[in-house]
Amino acid sequence: MPTIIPNLSEMEHDLLTELFNIGIGGAANSLSQLVNQEILLSIPSLQFKTSNQVIDQLGKNKKLFTIAQEMEGPFTMQSLLIFNPEDGFEVVKRMLGPHLSDETLAELQSEALTEIGNIVLNACIAVISEALGEGFNIDLPIFSTTTPEDLLVKNADSESDCLLAVEVKLELKESAINGCLLFIFNTDSTENLQQTLASLLDNLQ
């Protein structure tokens, strides 16, 4: 299936990238304070993709840990922090310390990851929300164990399937742990997002 590129101008694209960049910078800062160790988050790469492309990228039928927060306002955005279970567990292990057994860590991991997701996602949402100056209703984070298919089919608009995927590599200083940030817009939302970005650009100019 060909990639459907929504009608974002170069300026709009750059603006959105910059917004996420600022947001993720804040996320890295918050996380570093929380776990008291250096955390590196890569520069976000913005790509519009179809559900199938994202499913292929995440791995078909692969088990995933996701922390999701939904944002409703002028447009609807599902924001997700995604880890594969091994990396998710490793994040929790490194944050809670090696003195805990794997059994206990497994018990605690959903709670810990929920909070980590909340911090990272809030940091991004805050920047976007502030920049756009619009009011949003934002839900509390929800942790779940799922597969890429379940995650995306649930959120996808079958008519004109398009996702804005913002990928960020989350890295703890001692070992590379990959996390992925994903922001999903449905078709209407993409249009609304584009309008919102356009009006923001107009105001700036």
Binding site: L96, S101, T104, E107, E115, N118
Partner: protein, 529 residues
């Protein structure tokens, strides 16, 4: 906004919550504080409402909870703060612990709009859940897991130690269940017997097929004994197998029988070990000891025999020198006496050398026996006649009694005569003066269970000093003499050894009996055929 303006129905709703709930307005001032919090913080709603967050919780200013609150108030961002990644921030304590046990807190911060109550402020509601019980459960789980792991580690270590010990000892383990009659082996046991574990259909059968034929019954008897005797608790036996290289291999089995609380036997747990090397060592040790003993007895014998040889030689040389010196002056009788003594010593020397030759022939199995039918009674009578003169010198009587009519045996006449003469000569040697030696010919048994083969027993009894009980068996050993020999009776210590060799070659038996003060009796039994 004053506290009076905050809707009472929501206040009362929060009152019913089984968690802590407070509401902050845009200026971070408390506009609600529920009963749950009053109980656990010791602060009443009146003390809190209207005050700012930093007034009530100065220690939390600029902490994560404060930043999260600000983000919620400013951007409407909800937050979750767990006590897993953060220490429980609010000074809330479990009731009835006098402020000693801090409540473990899970905190949710969500934006709150109260437009319907004409409150235009952006507010946030903070919900605090007590997760102390959950944390305690997790701590208990952690403890359990740690203890389990420790136990597993210890068990693994013990198992490894046992395995190492089994490898070092070339041993394997086995278990037999009485209820199912099932025999189980560990990998090492299969390796020990070189039985293919994967293709083994019947372990018992495979095991039994390896038994060394001569030991198969012994092992079977041991097993029967264990299975039938309820009181057996320990098993310890050794047997041989034929290994894959067609060599004999010794196996040692040691096991204990386990019982349930009712005392019934449940299973046998044990170890089977290759003890071939130990057995070889034991044999070598035995051979070494035997060789050392042989060496020692030979040394003793040499010392003894050299003395025995020197005595007659001294006699011969002494009287020869005397004769040489005095043959011109001494009278004929004296010279004759010298010759007699030289001859006597020569005879003794000859006898000694004959004994040595006989023994060496018997030892080497080179003594050929000339078997033919002879009357044992006649042989005995002839021997008595030969020894009578010697006996008379010490006033010793010799009496022959015959309790059976027929005394014909198949034997080597010369050798049996040698035996009787030796026994009679010994009897004379060790008899006290004016006593009688009794020779008894009776029907005898080759062994107590053999009633078929007829045999004749010859018993030679004296009334002398007797033989100490401890020496009754050893008097027949080569180079061994009774300690009573030291009394001056003389002899090489070979006579009885020769007797035993001769009787053995007749398929007979020879033994001694003695009672203190009653002298000694030497018996021998030879088959009539």
């Amino acid at each position: 906004m004053d506290k009076e303006t905050y809707p009472a129905e929501i206040q009362s709703l929060y009152f019913a919550f089984n968690s802590g709930v407070f509401v902050l307005n845009e200026k971070e001032k408390f506009i609600a504080w529920n009963n749950w919090l009053e109980v656990r913080s010791g602060l009443s709603a009146d003390q809190v409402i209207g005050k700012s967050f930093s007034d009530i919780f100065p220690n939390l200013a600029e902490q994560r909870i404060h930043h999260a609150l600000q983000a919620t108030l400013k951007f409407g961002l909800p937050a979750t703060i767990s006590n897993i990644l953060n220490q429980s921030p609010f000074p809330l304590f479990l009731p009835q612990t006098n402020g000693k046990q801090l409540i473990e807190q899970q905190i949710y911060i969500t934006p709150l709009t109260l437009d319907q109550y004409s409150i235009s402020d952006k507010c946030c509601i903070i919900n605090i859940t007590d997760v102390t019980a959950a944390r305690m459960r997790e701590n208990a789980l952690e403890r359990q897991v740690r203890e389990k792991k420790k136990a597993e580690k210890s068990l693994t270590r013990k198992h490894q130690q046992l395995q190492t010990a089994l490898v070092a000892a070339n041993a394997g383990t086995f278990q037999y269940y009485f209820s199912t009659q099932e025999l189980c082996w560990d990998d090492r046991s299969y390796a020990l017997f070189n039985i293919d574990q994967k293709n083994c259909q019947n372990l018992c059968k495979s095991w039994k097929s390896l038994h060394y034929p001569e030991d198969a019954n012994k092992v079977q008897n041991e097993i029967q004994k264990i299975l039938q005797n309820e009181n057996t608790d320990l098993i310890d036996f050794e047997y041989r197998i034929i290994n894959s290289e067609n060599n004999i291999q010794w196996i040692g089995t040691k096991a204990i029988i386990c019982r349930n609380t009712a005392g019934d036997r449940t299973d046998i747990i044990g170890v089977q070990q290759d003890i071939t090397a130990q057995k070889k060592n034991q044999r070598l040790l035995r051979e070494k000891e035997a060789a050392e003993l042989a060496n020692k007895t030979k040394s003793e014998f040499l010392a003894n025999i050299s003395h025995e040889l020197r005595t007659p030689l001294h006699g011969i040389l002494g009287f020869t020198r005397l004769g040489l010196k005095k043959h011109e002056t001494a009278d004929q009788k004296k010279i004759g006496d010298y010759f007699f003594r030289i001859s006597q010593a020569g005879e003794r020397l000859l006898g000694l050398l004959d004994d040595l030759l006989d023994l060496s022939k018997l030892e080497a199995g080179k003594m050929t026996m000339d078997f033919s039918e002879h009357d044992l009674s006649d042989i005995t009578t002839q021997c008595i006649e030969e020894q009578l003169a010697r006996a008379n010198e010490s006033s010793i009587g010799i009496k022959l009694t015959k309790q059976i009519p027929k005394t014909i045996v198949t034997c080597d006449n010369v050798r049996i005569r040698q035996v009787i003469t030796n026994l009679l000569s010994n009897a004379i040697k060790f008899s006290s003066e004016n006593t009688t030696i009794t020779i008894n010919l009776t029907e005898g048994l080759l062994n107590p269970s053999d009633k078929v083969h007829k045999a004749i027993k010859v018993s030679v009894a004296n009334q002398g000093i007797g033989i100490p009980a401890a020496e009754l068996d050893t008097v027949f050993n080569k180079f061994i003499q009774s300690s009573k020999t030291n009394t001056g009776a003389g002899g090489t210590g070979l006579g009885l050894t020769i007797c035993k060799e001769i009787i053995d070659s007749h398929n007979g038996k020879i033994w001694a009996e003695s009672r203190k003060g009653y002298g000694a009796v030497f018996h021998f039994v030879i088959p009539t055929q």
